[in-house]
Amino acid sequence: MLTIADSQKATLGLLRVSINLTNSNGEVCEALNRDTSLVTALTDIITTDPEHYSHAYHQEKDAQTVASAEDAPEQEEREANFDLLLLSLGLMINFVQESGKVKEMVLSTDLPGQINLLFEKLIARDVRLRPAFLTSGICKSCAGIFGSSPRTSYHSHSEWKGISR
């Protein structure tokens, strides 16, 4: 079976290392951002392809079905792209949250505007195209009604009335 390339594993690993290093450490954030090139590269990843955000749904869906051998590399590629997206967002959050200097630097560019625009598009599309099966159901654990908000990954309870998972 094909696996993701060493280059991708190295990239995801280094992003995780950077997140570990920048947790509660503004100095490291500043050392990694002597100019705007890294935050620009991260913003490119975050904003380039909105389709990558739907890969979380595909991951969940694919986990329920037995993937064929032909689908496996494609699924692995999607997962790698989704991981890249999440880790890039995580590192950007750390940069902005842990260092006022980096935050000012980022705010002085058009990068926040690009991210804002992307999320506005994603939210608008979600409102317009939200599938019916994501819009109704009751969580047995907390009795939360999901008539008004989509079922998303931040809700971790696994038992649902009216929804076959």
Binding site: N20, L21, L32
Partner: protein
């Protein structure tokens, strides 16, 4: 795990690995150790690895970089890291940028 344990393990596996080979492979070279051993290593002092990354990032292969990333990931997980000088991180930001840019291509360092 101490360095001596690593070397001992490498030496023990040497006869099996050299059985069919007439010339002695460089199994104990720094590169081989990075390739085969570093990825499973958890170290308390990560500074030397960052210094190595800063010095040699332009000549490291993806496989070596993957091993270094694996070691650093395990060694920094759940720890509050301090004592790293800004100059030690010189390699990380540039490697990270190149990795991100080459993520979906067959890029090479």
């Amino acid at each position: 795990m101490s360095v001596s344990k690593i070397l001992k393990s490498e030496l023990q596996s040497l006869p099996a690995r050299t059985k069919d080979v007439k010339t002695l492979p460089e199994v104990l070279s720094a590169r081989q150790l990075v390739d085969n051993t570093l990825i499973d290593l958890v170290v308390t002092d990560i500074r030397p690895i960052f210094i190595c990354l800063a010095k040699f990032h332009e000549i490291l292969s993806w496989r070596e970089l993957k091993s270094i990333a694996g070691c650093l990931e395990q060694s920094t997980q759940g720890r509050n890291i301090s004592g790293i000088a800004q100059t030690d991180l010189n390699g990380l930001d540039s490697v990270l940028q190149r990795c991100i840019q080459d993520f979906n291509t067959e890029g090479c360092l």
